[in-house]
Symmetry: C2
């Protein structure tokens, strides 16, 4: 199975990368950009085919390595 994981900064956590993108978009002439937040996107290809077991493994991967749960949220979807 494949897992598509999105990791985003929690609300209220300062996002300098997002602010830099927002300012660059402004310099390029894009107006009306109210906010930009940058996160990470990770695709993990698992040998596991059982959905429950895959979900459990991905949860543990996110908590142990991929996301810093103090400042980041994660969400994921599994595709066959």
């Amino acid at each position: 199975m494949k897992a598509r994981i999105k990791i985003t900064l929690k609300n209220g956590v300062l996002d300098p990368q997002g602010k830099a993108i927002q300012s660059a978009l402004g310099s390029l002439g894009f107006s009306g950009v109210n906010d930009v937040r940058q996160g990470k996107y990770i695709e993990v290809e698992l040998a596991e085919n059982n959905e429950a077991a895959a979900k459990d493994a991905i949860e543990r991967m996110c908590k142990d390595l991929l996301a810093n749960t103090v400042i980041e949220n994660y969400s994921y979807e599994l595709v066959a």
Copy 2:
């Protein structure tokens, strides 16, 4: 409107960050991880409420700044 943009490396482009994550997952005892690819996830909050206009702006932002279309693909979804 809000746009959720995913930027991923094209197939065949070497992804050292993904390989590092894969190897770290292995060291942590996660077996059965066949492949890991890391991309970027960007949320852009637009003042624009017209879907066609927002889509057009996001397309141009991706091509001009957010994605390097030589080595990266982008996809996005618009939410109200």
